[in-house]
């Protein structure tokens, strides 16, 4: 089965968006689920990416990713018409969507991508959706218009104040939780952001859901590499998640585990960049 790249662009530096042919996944996927892609069968890494949207009629899925390592950089260098050899999915449990009342959707950086279909689903289910999107600076903010279209209220924050409020996402989250009745918080972004967003929600006694993106190999419950501690118990992100009760996740442990291959990842990325520079990747 071929997985052609139907459209692709760079959303901001090193962040890409692409629609990819994957009719089986498009037909089955629900908000909150993810895929594992593997560019070439023999040697490529398996990369888990949350699905940012589906087009069932077109038989395609939308992926948004940041080039943080060799494999994601290589994926970023593919062009429209190129093919991925492998796309597996949809994986993980779908988001539990119902009319909770008021839902605050908190996105950080690339986390806006998986958050979007969930926010959309929450809106469609009749919730009042307040979205808080955070980025380091204006140029790194993604999907603002998409969120504007489906949110009752949209708050933008940047670390350097180059756009929206100069704050971290927890500041407006805290204010909103204080000033009105919030029934649910969904937070997706860097682990540290999810940790503090969860703490903020807990402070106000509001249920909080986070979506974890740990290191993974098979994605079907077989390897256990993605394991996290939730409420003192071992859980597998791939089959028990990717979404968990943010108040129970041991984020500190998870952040350490995510650093496991940092040295090798850096080495691989540098070698790849060097090859690109001298044209050996072609």
């Amino acid at each position: 089965m071929s997985h052609k790249i139907l459209s692709k662009k760079e959303l901001c530096k090193d962040v890409y968006i692409a629609d990819i042919e994957a009719p089986l996944v498009a037909a089955a996927a629900k908000p909150g689920q993810f895929v594992i892609i593997c560019l070439q069968t023999t040697y490529s890494e398996r990369i888990p990416l949350t699905i940012a949207g589906t087009d069932e009629k077109n038989g395609s899925i939308r992926l948004i990713w940041q080039a943080v390592g060799k494999s994601t950089a290589e994926f970023g260098h593919l062009k429209v018409g190129d093919e991925l050899e492998n796309v597996l999915g949809p994986l993980g449990k779908p988001t539990h969507i119902e009319n909770f009342g008021t839902v605050v959707c908190v996105g950080g950086g690339i986390g806006n991508a998986p958050l979007l279909p969930i926010a959309k689903g929450m809106k469609q289910a009749g919730n009042k959706v307040i979205s808080i999107l955070g980025a380091r600076n204006k140029s790194l903010l993604i999907l603002e218009d998409d969120f504007k279209a489906i949110s009752d209220e949209l708050i933008i924050v940047t670390d350097d104040g180059s756009y929206g409020r100069k704050a971290v996402v927890t500041v407006p989250l805290d204010e909103i939780c204080q000033s009105q009745k919030v029934d649910m918080v969904v937070a997706i972004g860097p682990a540290i952001m999810m940790k503090f967003a969860s703490q903020t929600a807990v402070k106000h006694n509001i249920p909080v859901v986070v979506s974890l993106n740990t290191i993974m190999i098979d994605g079907t419950g077989m390897c256990g590499g993605c394991r996290v501690e939730v409420g003192g118990q071992t859980k597998f992100v791939c089959v028990d998640g990717p979404e968990f009760d943010g108040s129970k996740v041991n984020f500190d442990l998870m952040m350490k585990r995510m650093q496991a291959y940092k040295k090798q990842e850096q080495q691989a990325l540098e070698e790849y960049k060097h090859k690109c520079k001298i044209g050996l990747d072609k």
């Binding site: 597996l88 419950g221 256990g224 650093q259 090798q264 080495q267």
Partner: protein, 490 residues
Amino acid sequence: MNDKQLLEELLNKHKAGTLKPADRYNIPPQAMPQQDGVARRSNVEEVALGYNETQARLEALRCLGCKNAPCMEGCPVRIKIKDFIVEIVEGNFQKALGIIRENSLLPAVCGRVCPQEVQCQLPCTVGKKFKNVDMSVSIGRLERFVSDWGRKQHENSTPAVAAPTGKKVAILGSGPGGIVVATDVRRAGHDVTIFEAFHKPGGVMVYGIPEFRLPKAIVQEEIDGLEKMGVKIIRNFVAGRTKTVKELMEKDGFDAVYIGVGAGLPMFMNIEGEHLVGVYSANEYLTRANLMKAYDFGKGADTPIAMSKRVAVVGGGNVAMDSARTAVRLGAEKVYLIYRRSEKEMPARVEEVHHAKEEGIEFHLLRNPKRIIGNGDGVVNAIECLKFELGEPDASGRRRPVPIEGSEFTIDVDTVVVAIGNGANPLIGQTTDGLALNKWGNITVDDNCKTSLDGVYAGGDIVLGAATVILAMGQGRTAAAGINEYLAKK
């Protein structure tokens, strides 16, 4: 007298009908040629190299050809062992292969990975005579010899396929069980599609069993053979998520389904420190090394694995041996195998234990981890163990290990691989209404490997818990017969 002369003399006697059992007992058991124990520590090539023709025929001459053939009773798929062995003696390797193939579809695999010493070779009369199973006729090595001979001849073994029946069969999982079912069901003329979750087919033979024990080229030949028969293989399809069993049957028109999805969630010990960086399940460790070829990281492969210096592997089965021996090949200086019972109770194949020792793996028997100790960055730096002694036999018949209070000691390690088995993968059960499971989450089947749902069959690890390649194949055979019978009536 060299081996060739010995063989000639024995063959002459054999032909004349004057070779007595006492003569056969006197033939020295043929050792398996193997890669040097030091050299192989730094490569992933196969360790056991296989008999040559002389060795195979000498070993075959050790077989007494017992009337009651106790060996056959020991084989899960009932290969006509003494019949194929006598063909090896005669030099009729093609015939020998034909006899094996009547019952086993993957002889090149089984000859390498079956635990023969507890199956066919356990009741062997020759071994009994010497009161030593190591003295039994090396049936597995002979099976391997014959199948490798066939592979070298490029002997086209694609089984004949009956006229199309118009019936469709879906097989979930491309491991040994799935391959057997696909072959047998396709032979009957049904339209067969295998669905595999990974990006490479072959199941445990590709992600789990290392190259040095089972070269992946052999598995690929089997997969190619299936495709030659007209079996379709869809990769990157996870049953229960991409499509459910019901969708396959109701929407896609599959008349029968075989569930052979294999091992599920790896078990951990539930001790302190198991979340530290550097602690792996054996499934993850082996999948990174084998399927993802992490041993070639930086030389083409993109998937990393711990660059370990000191590794502790916990467990006593084949998976533990595979992990320990993989760690050696990945460059570890010290590899410890920690097992809570004694060597006698180890479920691993004797040959694997032997090879592991040759490769310098240090066995810590009657020891079990109490906790894993990390440094400030959350990375493993030691494992604390407790000493055990053997008590009364437990339900499995093996003597139960009892901890010795106050016997704690630590070993400095940077990596821990936990190889203590797998639970059932919950995905199929969760997404298939009406599918009966036992209390451990394994699928319940009847004697024909039929599940609680009509037209749905299952086998291998998802039914048996942790089993072996040959047991999965045995169930595959049974299930295929059941499916063929079911479809004939339908």
